[in-house]
Amino acid sequence: MDFDALTGCLVSSACIVTQTTSGLIIGMLLFLVAVGLTLIFGVLKIVNFSHGAFYMFGAYFALSGYQLTGSFIVALLCGSLGAAAIGLIFERFFISRVYGRDVLMQLLVCYAFVLIFDDAVKLIWGPEFKSMGMPAAFQVPPLFIAGGVVPPFYLLLVAVALAVAALLGLGLARTRLGKVIRAAAHNPAMVSALGVNTALIYGAVFALGCALAGLAGALAAPVRSLTPGMGFSVLIESFIVTVIGGMGSILGALIGALLLGLVRSFGSIGFPLFTDGLMYLFMVIVLVARPTGLFGKDLA
């Protein structure tokens, strides 16, 4: 524990800016994964235990797309669309068989796919660490804000994540499709009786959730190293985000992810060995004080 370093950081504006931006990056990536998780849970009532694998797929697809074309936009598209395609197949052929079955079966099917997906990535891309490198468009000198260093890529990352949050929030609240999805989350039998193809809605929501995880993976590819199994810690962290924010709430996922990102980035200065522990501690405090999360409704 190093309180001197933490207080030292908190009085210097440069350090505050640097740590806040790195916290924002962690938080925004987590938000993208967690919002997919929470969306799938809200509509399908399934916790996608293999959600981290789609983050991993996003990163690897983006890597391949970038190596083939050299364009980061193509890489982002490859990452999110690739993850969505795999997600759609996964939902139609496997997840759809365990709707309404007990949680044990749902967990087992997802667990099986975590193993299969991790090994598949090992087979296709190799077991070693990979890195994508910063795309050429962002290889420019960093910005200095109040003495803190902010790479321009970070700004893009935050902007994309915020745009996704806004689009999702507005789409669910205002559009017809959003209304149908919310209705299906509430009462699928009634929605189906009104002539809506709920299987289609389920598949679309699952694919959308996976696309968001894939987008997060693709955005993370330039700043993180890629390895098979990279999705698992992200899954745990995004689950903690949904526990903190409240399952099924987009705003909760955003706030939870930002809080967690800041806890991690400032915690790494004050408690370098206990950064992960700090995160769990934070979750426990929220759970004890508000078991349904900060923005969650009672799930009974």
């Binding site: 044990l104 099917v109 667990y111 099986a112 522990g277 769990y280 426990v284 078991p291």
Partner: protein, 344 residues
């Protein structure tokens, strides 16, 4: 079909005190026979691989059966049960390396440590509903795993606890000797299973089934559901840590993988494989998984794909564990026999 329902449909009333005593006697007999068979194995087949295999079965079997107390009997799907396995291995290894205690003392202290950990973690977790419970236990497992990785001076970090575990001789038992270790592991396994069986068949065990089937009704007749769940969480954690102790003695160390989430996943799968509706199911599942594990790792390095496909086959195809089929087959035969009797 749950065991409680099975009892009811076969017309047997839940055992009274006298019957329970005789049932306990039968369990004791089976345990004694099982122990005798296990101990005679190395004398019948002089195979080192078999000895190693049974020791690993003992470690994983205790772990998986204790998980069944939670999953099968109480309906608590813990996805972080492996933390107690890792905790047992590390606590015991560290106590032996650092304190110079005797093995029995370190063993008892390890049990105490897991009980305290189970009490603290359980107090937070057991209030939560199904999927929340699964993931929050998983989160605690990852917390313990990350503490093991980052507390390098104590635990050796990702290198694991190395340098061997000292095994001072006690009561003429020398656990440095592979045969002594084998017999000790078998004894721990048999005694552990016997104790868990008694817990499952006790009034407390039937309270667990009631909480699983209808927690609201249980609380209406005055059962403190939270306390019952917490009690079984602590007990299961203690038994799982015994599995960890056996494992740490077997590999003479402890590795972060013992506390990694995959151990919990395998535990859940073992329960599924063998079936959660019988007491012995997880033990059968353990043997099956270890055989599968050894064959698959010998044949290919892509163990994950094979294990994943087998899990899918069981979860989506068969939808039941192996022992569930045995029980159903047995019940069908008995039903046929009884209808024949009544018709004649």
């Amino acid at each position: 079909m749950s065991e409680l329902q099975a009892d009811r449909s076969s017309g047997r009333v839940v055992a009274g005190a006298g019957q329970r005593r005789s049932a306990a006697g039968a369990d004791l007999l089976i345990a004694a026979i099982g122990f005798a068979v296990l101990v005679s194995l190395p004398f019948l087949f002089s195979s080192k691989a078999l000895v190693d295999f049974v020791i690993r079965c003992a470690a994983y079997g205790l772990f998986a059966t204790s998980l069944n107390l939670l999953v099968g009997y109480t309906g608590l799907i813990s996805f972080g049960h492996g933390m107690f396995f890792g905790l047992g291995a590390y606590s015991f290894g560290l106590l032996m390396q650092r304190t110079g205690l005797s093995i029995p003392a370190a063993f008892v202290l390890t049990l105490l440590i897991s009980a305290v950990a189970g009490l603290v973690i359980g107090a937070i977790c057991v209030r939560l509903k199904e999927i929340y419970f699964a993931f929050v236990t998983l989160a605690f497992q990852m917390l313990i795993h990350s503490v093991i990785l980052s507390w390098q001076p104590l635990t050796g970090g990702d290198q694991g606890l190395r340098g061997g575990i000292p095994r001072p001789v006690f009561l003429g038992i020398d656990l440095g000797n592979q045969l002594h270790l084998y017999i000790a592991s078998c004894a721990l396994l048999v005694v552990g299973l016997l104790l868990m069986r008694q817990i499952a068949q006790s009034p407390f065990g039937y309270t667990l089934r009631m909480v699983r089937d209808n927690a609201t009704r249980a609380s209406f007749i005055g059962i403190n559901v939270w306390r019952v769940k917490l009690a079984v969480f602590v007990l299961a954690g203690m038994f799982a840590s015994v599995g960890g102790v056996i494992m740490s003695l077997f590999v003479s160390g402890a590795y972060p993988e013992f506390a990694y989430w995959t151990i919990s996943g395998e535990g859940i799968f073992i329960n599924m494989l063998g079936g959660v509706t019988t007491f012995i199911g997880p033990m059968v599942g353990t043997v099956l998984l270890l055989i599968l594990n050894d064959t698959a790792t010998r044949l290919t390095e892509h163990y994950g794909i094979i294990l994943g496909v087998v899990i899918l086959f069981f979860a989506l195809g068969l939808r039941k564990g192996l022992m569930d089929f045995v029980v159903e087959w047995y019940a069908e035969r008995r039903d046929k026999a009884s209808t024949r009797e009544t018709s004649t």
